[in-house]
Amino acid sequence: MNKLPGKITQMQQSGAVLLVDVDVDGQGFSALLIEPAARPEWLQAGHTVHLVFKETEVSLAKNLSGLISMRNRMMCNVSKVERGELLSKITLHFRGHSITSAITTRAVDSLQIAIGDEVEAMVKANEISLMNSI
């Protein structure tokens, strides 16, 4: 799984649904969680946490324009491409962190992804978990 360290900046709760904003090196992220009002002690504004998301939930785009509903967008550089028959793994650099995206090899070909390319990695807010970083 992908792990990025960040700091909780803000939280918005409606019933059991909680939207958490996290800052990772100056870039804002959102995680949508199901949490009761009595939240664990580490899940509070100001706390350092890890954003956790699965490689298969990371979508990639090149030269994207227009609006999109995905809340978490990372401008990255491609550092490695491992092609599989159907599924490929793309390793990306994002502000000093390494993240991995697993997409179909067809998608790799259609986007013509190569080492050194600038791509945008995107994850939906409901696909991000938070982990206590201690």
């Binding site: 664990p40 899940l43 599989g84 159907l86 599924l87 991995t100 938070l130 206590n132």
Partner: protein
């Protein structure tokens, strides 16, 4: 119920397959609790059970059952096993082959008590086998006799050392229910060594995780095995049964709850130090799983 909190403050140098290891435990066990000792083999679970029973002498420390001192190295006290009110049940039933089922049960009673023996035989569905010798019984039936015999002396403390590990999964489930029933019936504190997560969840009210001779974690099964440091609301614990490399990913098969098979796509960063047989937490978010009602 009278309070018989068990005090266990002991040290014992153990010789394990990986060399010497110092067992060092300081804990209290509450009356009537069903405690599971969970951990890898060689961690000291069975040693702890044997120390409680009196079959093994700690190097130093104190073992008390309520106010009764069973072992105190500073005062040279070591009460022999037969004077501690305990019963044992092991993986191998250790029944007397030359005695009938009924005689095996009578043998465990300090004073022959036919009414209790018949009641136990009936509870465990053994009435029709009471005149048979253990040789003519199935594994599950033998283990039932061993359980009935363990209860025949009405112990205040029941010690179980992987009692069901030799049985198939169906028979295990049945006997887990019977062990639970027996625990309720007897009201005795029960301490069980197990490395079966499903068994621990089903039976234990309190878990002591033993790691390298020490208690590494304790609490209810939920507290010990589900991880509140992860926000994911779907958390399943299980054991890795198979790891298959396919394309650029690994497919990890996890067995949960004894019979549920879960397959998880894992990447290299998840695979570090992950081996077959390891206990793992499988988690996902409340948003991802889908539900389908099953027809009755």
């Amino acid at each position: 119920m009278e309070s018989n909190v068990i005090t266990l403050e002991v040290e014992k140098m153990m010789l394990t397959a990986n060399g010497k290891l110092n067992l060092s435990v300081d804990t209290r066990i509450q009356t009537g609790e069903f405690v599971a000792l969970f951990g890898l083999s060689g961690a000291g679970k069975t040693t702890l059970l044997r120390i409680l029973s009196g079959l093994m002498k700690p190097d130093k420390g104190l073992v008390k059952f309520g106010d009764t001192v069973w072992f105190d190295s500073s005062r040279g006290i070591n009460i022999p096993p037969q004077e501690r009110n305990i019963s044992f049940m092991f993986q191998d039933y250790a029944l007397f082959p030359n005695m009938t089922v009924e005689e095996n049960i009578h043998f465990a009673q300090p004073m022959k008590d036919n009414a209790t023996a018949l009641e136990l035989l009936s509870i465990f569905g053994l009435s029709e086998f009471r005149k048979r010798k253990p040789g003519g019984l199935s594994g599950g039936q033998k283990q039932r006799v061993a359980l009935a015999r363990a209860l025949a002396r009405k112990p205040q403390l029941l010690l179980l050392d992987e009692p069901l590990s030799a049985l198939d999964s169906g028979m295990r489930l049945t006997l887990q229910n019977e062990i639970y029933k027996a625990h309720q019936l007897l009201g005795a504190t029960t301490i069980m060594v197990s490395h079966d997560l499903g068994e621990v969840f089903r039976l234990a009210s309190h878990v002591l995780c033993i790691k390298k001779g020490q208690i590494s974690k304790e609490g209810t099964p939920d507290e010990v095995f589900s991880d509140s440091s992860i926000s994911g609301k779907v958390q399943i614990t299980g054991q890795v049964a198979r790891i298959a490399k396919q394309d650029t990913v690994n497919i990890v098969t996890v067995i949960a709850g004894g019979s549920q098979i879960i397959k998880v796509i894992a990447f290299d960063s998840d695979m570090e130090a992950l081996n077959i047989g390891d206990n793992v937490l499988v988690f996902t978010k409340a948003f991802n799983p889908m539900l389908v009602k099953l027809m009755a």
